[in-house]
């Protein structure tokens, strides 16, 4: 089941698909609505046809997941035992047995760094590949010249094949309790390069909250172009001035989605077997990973799957992010560890079994790690000088450990992997080469993480 605006469609009832197809075929809109960018080319030599960034909002603990330090002093190492993996010399903690058993599918970087220890600035820095050097979060509003998100860069380069090229799977703009991170969008390139937001519930119910403004857009009224345009105009007349500012973007997105025809099936998780859906896990994050795989199959170049909308775990509004300032070890044992282990290992297995992993770059990380030294209340706080990322598919050589942190997991012993390097590597593998990056004036001076390739 998926929702368009306020309308929910259940495919098994068979009442809507033909209308969508007729509608899609009848519209004269050109491809590449995101800026008129070129269509995908079969001759493209890029290694990653799609990128999936699995974003662990809030900052997951590197010592308690992918970089255990069993020989560190008690005040650092934490309670979770280190277990062997299929990769020689690499251990994970006991919270990740499935990923440990499938570590030959991916490589792990253990020396990521960020430049800021706050959720929103660190997120902005990571997504803009270091260009938002201070995160821009301390000023009033978005600073002039704010750089575009990596997904916007790839979307601009690759264009659309019917679906939006930069898809964001989460309940809303990612950030913390104060607000969303400013770097989650097109920045100086404008709102048309913002991510297309899709919410996927734990039941696999998909809705597109941005289009809820268009209350009149029900499939029963979309059986010809004239009626569609009339409907859109009717809705437009009901908008106030502030809403009119959003009108053009929403209009474009709605029409782009509707002209997608068969590609709309990508949103319909009911087409997956029950065993596949339960294999991922019945959480919003897990079902979003499955939805992400379907979007990759449909040819979407960039999909960001967010663990949660908010960084926080326990705030009354929050949705169990990774910001475990308190009860880190209980939460990771109860909740975060098992759920991540199940969903991520299943995603990688699923992509592999379908022959998609070779052409899909999967990167899993957060904005930073957590303090190696356990804090005064027995938990861990933010730590940006050293943390982890997981890389699979899309040209990455699996089964490698890149970089080494010190004995306490506090700082890199080897060259730090910067946000610029992460972004440059992803862009390069996705086919955004040096020349195009120069034309776009993005990722200048970044270098590829050669050890991954």
């Amino acid at each position: 089941m998926f929702g368009l605006g306020n309308y929910r469609v259940r495919d098994c009832q068979g009442l809507t698909r033909r209308s969508f197809l007729r509608f899609g075929a009848g519209l004269p809109f050109a491809a590449g609505l995101l800026g008129g960018a070129p269509l995908l080319s079969a001759a493209d030599a890029r290694k990653a046809k799609s990128v999936m960034l699995i974003w662990l909002v809030g900052g997951p603990s590197h010592l308690d997941l992918f970089d255990p330090k069993p020989n560190a002093p008690t005040e650092f190492r934490g309670p979770f035992a280190a277990i062997p993996t299929r990769t020689a010399g690499m251990q994970f903690t006991e919270l990740l047995p499935r990923l440990a058993a499938s570590s030959d599918r991916f490589s792990v970087v253990r020396t990521n760094i960020n430049y800021n220890g706050g959720h929103r600035p660190a997120g902005s820095i990571a997504w803009t590949c270091g260009r938002a050097s201070d995160g821009g979060e301390d000023g009033n509003g978005k600073p002039t010249g704010y750089p575009p998100h990596l997904g916007s860069i790839i979307a601009r380069s690759r264009g659309s094949n019917g679906l939006p090229a930069f898809m964001s799977l989460s309940r809303g703009p990612v950030g913390d309790g104060v607000g969303p991170s400013l770097g989650y969008g097109g920045g100086v390139w404008g709102s048309r390069y913002d991510p297309f937001m899709v919410d996927c519930s734990k039941q696999g119910q998909v809705s597109i909250s941005e289009l809820k403004l268009l209350d009149g857009l029900t499939p029963s009224r979309l059986d010809d172009r004239q009626r569609v345009l009339s409907e859109l105009n009717r809705v437009r007349r009901g908008l106030d001035q502030a809403q009119l500012d959003q009108w053009d973007g929403l209009h474009q997105k709605a029409l782009q989605l509707l002209r997608g025809g068969d590609t709309l099936n990508a949103f319909d998780l009911s087409r997956e077997s029950a065993s596949t859906r339960t294999r991922y896990g019945r959480t919003s994050f897990a079902q979003s990973c499955l939805l992400g795989r379907r979007l990759v199959e449909a040819g979407v170049p960039y999909v960001q799957v967010n663990w949660s909308q908010f960084a926080e775990v326990f705030y009354p509004f929050s949705d169990y992010g990774w910001d475990t300032h308190a009860d880190n070890f209980g939460l990771l044992a109860d909740w975060h560890g098992p759920l991540l282990d199940q969903a991520l290992s299943t995603l990688l297995d699923d992509l592999h079994e379908r022959g998609l992993l070779e052409t899909t770059l999967v990167v899993c990380m957060g904005e930073f790690g957590r303090t190696p030294r356990i804090n005064g209340i027995g938990s861990r706080d933010h730590w940006h000088p050293c943390y982890f990322s997981v890389w699979a598919g899309g040209g990455v050589q699996p089964g490698r450990v890149i970089g080494e942190s010190d004995a306490r997991g506090e700082y890199p012993l080897t060259n730090p992997i910067t946000p610029e390097m992460v972004g440059t590597t992803i862009a390069e593998l996705a086919g955004v080469g040096t020349q195009q990056r120069a034309e776009y004036r993005v990722l200048e001076g970044g270098r590829v993480i050669d050890e991954l390739l």
Binding site: T74, P79, A274, T278, V313, P316, D327, I377, G378, S379
Partner: protein, 301 residues
């Protein structure tokens, strides 16, 4: 729903002479599934003499709620529909008078709520630190104190307060992480997990925090101890076989036995009041649901 005599067929098989096969069958017996919604669940417990279950469920995108499941007709309802914050880790006194649980507050902090359902009053314990948390409260058998894991200045320790949420006592003051306290039915001993020696292992201590002794010693984590109603056995979940399974050990530290054996997670064991079954959260069908396991013959054999 009759859950007082599940797996009686297994017992009959034992009586008819299939002893070995029957024992294996009981160890690996298919648990009885109590829920089928697949919603993520945490920390169940029996209430109302085993006629109902309370558990925490992630039933809304931004909320974990306490749910009461009536076993006679599978009806589910929120324990307190008025609560809008996350609430989890419930316990109820044997006579049903007291309900306690953890409630998120206005920050990362989580607090203890103790309700006297007879008097209609509510007491709260709020950690000192703005990010401090309470987890896993358990009401003592004499209904004088509530025991819990406290993350506050001094680290993560086992502590208790009285039924008014006052007179805090820290029962552990160790290095490492202490968690998941469980009080014996006679109120004299506390089982808990601690990483003071490395990984999470089970320990026992007297009710006043004294005489700490180690109960298990496996490098992979042992957690969530739960006393049997007769006080002779302790069920717990452990990763010692790679993924989380349910085990039972005698209270003297002997005869540890694995009760479940499934590639998916089995966790959060609690005893039925009859002492013959365990309620667990299992992901064996892919979803997170409640299951009943008969353990009587297995653990006594």
């Amino acid at each position: 729903m009759n859950f007082c005599n599940p797996l009686r067929t297994g017992v009959l098989v034992v009586m008819s002479g299939w002893l070995v096969i029957a024992a294996q069958s009981l160890t690996a017996a298919e648990p009885r599934r109590l829920t089928r919604d697949g919603v993520l669940k945490l920390a169940p417990l029996f209430v109302e003499k085993g006629e109902a279950v309370i558990f925490a469920a992630h039933d809304e995108p931004n909320r974990v709620s306490l749910i009461r499941l009536r076993l006679s007709d599978d009806k589910q309802e929120r324990v307190d529909p008025a609560l809008t914050a996350h609430q989890f880790d419930a316990d109820v006194s044997a006579d049903g008078r007291y309900l306690c649980f953890v409630l998120t507050y206005t920050s990362p902090q989580s607090i203890l709520v103790v309700r006297d359902l007879k008097e209609g009053t509510e007491a709260r314990f709020i950690p000192q630190d703005a990010r401090g948390t309470v987890r896993g409260p358990k009401i003592s058998p004499d209904q004088q104190r509530v025991l819990f894991t406290l993350s506050d200045p001094g680290g993560q320790q086992i502590a208790s307060v009285d039924m008014k949420g006052a007179n805090l006592k820290r029962l552990t003051e160790s290095v490492g992480t202490n968690a998941w306290p469980a009080i014996s039915p006679d109120g004299r001993q506390i089982a808990f997990s601690s990483s003071r020696e490395g990984g999470f292992r089970l320990y026992l201590m007297n009710a006043d925090g004294g005489n700490v002794r180690q109960l298990t010693n496996h490098p992979l984590r042992d957690m969530r101890p739960a006393w049997s109603p007769d006080g002779k056995r302790i069920a717990f979940s452990s990763a010692r076989d790679g993924n989380l399974e349910i085990y039972i050990i005698h209270a003297d530290g002997t005869n540890a036995r694995r009760i479940t054996n499934h590639p998916d997670r089995d966790d959060f064991p609690v005893w039925h009041p009859d002492g013959r079954q365990l309620l667990i959260v299992s992901e064996r069908a892919g979803d997170s649901d409640l299951y009943l396991i008969d353990v009587d013959d297995v653990s006594r054999s």
